[in-house]
């Protein structure tokens, strides 16, 4: 177990005075990940936005023991990066230029913002990780949804944060990349003593990303802890309103017949 990297104590957040997230507490240690699951509209994305400091919140969010409320945005962004679910391409930047934007806080040239050779190497490494080297000079408006998703993943990696927040990271990705992404992030977190907090729709991928699970419903926490301790058929049925475990077993039976 590493040190406590990210801690939330009774965090509530929402829009126009209405709380969407209510009194959520959690802690993530260095080198470990956390998956957040729950039905649509239960406040998962809102929670991530509060952690990234793009939504106002009540309660306490601490980063390496320091309350983020006292930090400037650039100090928070040095530590926390977020891969959002609805990033889009508005202008036709190249893949390379888009990923380079992730180096914003690292680039030392404050006047024109020209990257150093170290920044360039770092970006190439991120492009390689996201398997984008072949298309690095292509305009992002000409990419498929999955490729664009990987561009934003590379951008998040280029930010070189301590904590990555993922909001539905596997949207648009094919099966191979979904699995590769999760495996890569696990390794990224454990190797460098960092952490990934991922909002996942796919429960199987959630379990693959982390042993620990936060289950949300109606803005609050309905269960939190190690998956093998807290996850029961009853919990999932209560959360999603269908017999999730039964459905998975049915699927399993189908797969057993696949030759």
């Amino acid at each position: 177990m590493g040190q406590k990297m990210l801690e939330l104590i009774n965090v509530s957040a929402g829009y126009n005075g209405t709380d969407v997230v209510k009194n959520v507490s959690l802690a993530v240690n260095a080198g470990e990940n956390l998956s957040i699951i729950g039905p649509n509209g239960c406040g998962k994305t809102t929670l991530l936005k509060a952690v990234a400091n793009i939504l106002p919140y009540r309660g306490e969010i601490a980063l390496d023991g320091k309350p983020t409320r006292k930090l400037k945005q650039r100090e928070i962004s040095r530590k926390i990066a977020m891969l959002s679910q609805n990033s889009g391409a508005y202008f036709s930047y190249t893949v390379y230029d888009t990923v380079m934007m992730g180096r914003y806080l690292h680039i030392k040239d404050r006047l024109l913002g020209l990257p150093s050779s170290g920044d360039k190497d770092f970006v190439l490494e991120c492009l390689k990780t996201a398997d984008l080297l072949d298309v690095k000079d292509r305009e992002i408006t000409r990419l498929s949804g999955g490729q664009l998703q990987r561009v934003f993943l590379a951008q998040v990696l280029a930010q070189d944060p301590a904590v990555i927040l993922l909001d539905e990271p596997t949207n648009h990705l094919d099966l191979k990349f979904q699995i590769e992404l999760v495996e890569y992030l696990k390794q990224w977190a454990s190797q460098w003593g960092r952490a990934v907090v991922g909002v996942m729709h796919d429960i199987n991928l959630a379990l693959r990303l982390s042993a620990r699970l936060l289950v949300m419903k109606g803005g609050g926490v309905s269960a939190y802890g190690n998956a093998d301790e807290i996850m029961t058929g009853g919990l999932l049925e209560n959360t999603y309103g269908i017999d999730v475990a039964g459905y998975m077993r049915e699927l399993l039976a189908v797969w057993e017949n696949v030759k």
Binding site: Q73, S77, A81, M82, F91, S92, L105, Q155
Partner: protein, 337 residues
């Protein structure tokens, strides 16, 4: 990229020379240089150049062409900044009220003889500028009051509400005292006629400072085109940068239209064409929009004063007449491909 930049710079210089050379009296480019050398460095004027030519060039053509260039550059930079900050291809300082405010200011001066303790030639620009900037500041402050995150749609809508309201006030004032209406309409159409070096002394530093600030913010502008949340999570101090850029764009537009009237279209067209040719990075978009917008304005003004010479067309109409088909060609021809 380098070649493209050099070609653009050369074209801009050519436009400027053309704008100075052509008129009721043609002055060859060589003579232009000699006259400038004579006026600036005190070099001897060759005998074949008449004093009249020199006077025409120095007192009329050169300040006028330079003013057109600077105005075009300022409006284009402002347009580029607004489009990116508000993430809207049609956004400009005009959309959020600078021209309506400036028109109201001009209206008050023309109709009620509002005066300040300053030279008379400055009264109209100063009022126009103050009211233009005031309208935008009110709109943005209003937007930030009702929406603490200051989202783009809120700003655009607040700007439109203020803009329409101020326009209505101007229309009412005009309707109530018809005799000055023509002067106000003439002012609103925009013109570079009857301007001298003094206007340049104010507009040149303003434009340079504004454009340099925009270039300085090139990376923030790049990131803001991906949306505010993404820019913020990457470390941009969003609210502060957004305010600063909105004010920078408004100063550029407000300062320009205060002196030369409302000239539309160049702020919309120039940045789009630059992005088509040079890509969307603001490191290039800002300076090249200034070059291209400046050159475009010089050519439009040249057309405005020569096509129906000796009378003049309103340059605002020419920018749209020349710009619209050209823009349609550049924008849609490439999209079709």
């Amino acid at each position: 990229m380098k070649t493209k930049i050099i070609v653009t710079a050369a074209a801009a210089l050519a436009a400027l020379i053309l704008g100075v050379a052509v008129g009721s009296v043609y002055i060859p480019p060589g003579d232009i240089l000699r006259i400038i050398a004579h006026m600036v460095f005190g070099a001897r004027l060759p005998e074949e150049i008449s004093a009249t030519s020199a006077a025409i060039l120095w007192n009329l053509r050169l300040p006028r062409a330079l003013l057109a260039f600077v105005a075009g550059a300022a409006l284009s930079v402002s347009g580029a900044v607004m489009q990116s900050v508000l993430r809207n291809p049609l956004a400009s300082s005009y959309t959020i009220g600078v021209s309506s405010g400036a028109s109201l200011g001009a209206c008050l001066v023309l109709l009620y003889g509002a005066a300040l303790p300053m030279p008379a030639m400055l009264t109209l620009p100063v009022f126009g500028f103050a009211f233009g900037l005031g309208t935008i500041l009110l709109a943005v402050a209003f937007a930030s009051g009702i929406d603490s995150r200051m989202e783009n749609n809120t700003i655009i809508l607040a700007g439109m509400v203020f803009s329409l309201f101020v326009n209505a006030v101007t229309t009412l004032l005009m309707a109530m005292s018809g005799e000055y209406m023509n002067r106000l309409i003439y002012w609103q159409m925009g013109s570079f006629a009857m301007k001298d070096w003094h206007t340049l002394y104010i507009l040149v530093p303003l434009t340079i400072i504004g454009a340099l600030f925009a270039v300085r913010c090139n990376r923030e502008l790049d990131m803001m085109t991906f949306g505010e949340e993404q820019a913020k999570t990457m470390g941009v101090s969003l609210k502060r940068v957004k305010w600063a850029l909105l004010i920078c764009a408004s100063l550029l537009t407000g300062g320009t239209i205060a002196f030369v009237g409302v000239i539309g279209f160049v702020d919309l067209v120039a940045p789009h064409i630059v992005r088509r040719i040079f890509g969307p990075s603001h490191r290039y978009v800002i300076p090249l929009s200034a070059l291209l917008g400046g050159a475009f304005m010089v050519i439009c003004d040249l057309a405005a004063r020569t096509v129906v010479s000796p009378s003049e067309l309103p340059v605002g109409a020419v920018t749209a007449l020349v710009g619209a088909p050209f823009f349609a060609y550049v924008y849609f021809a490439k999209r079709k491909a």
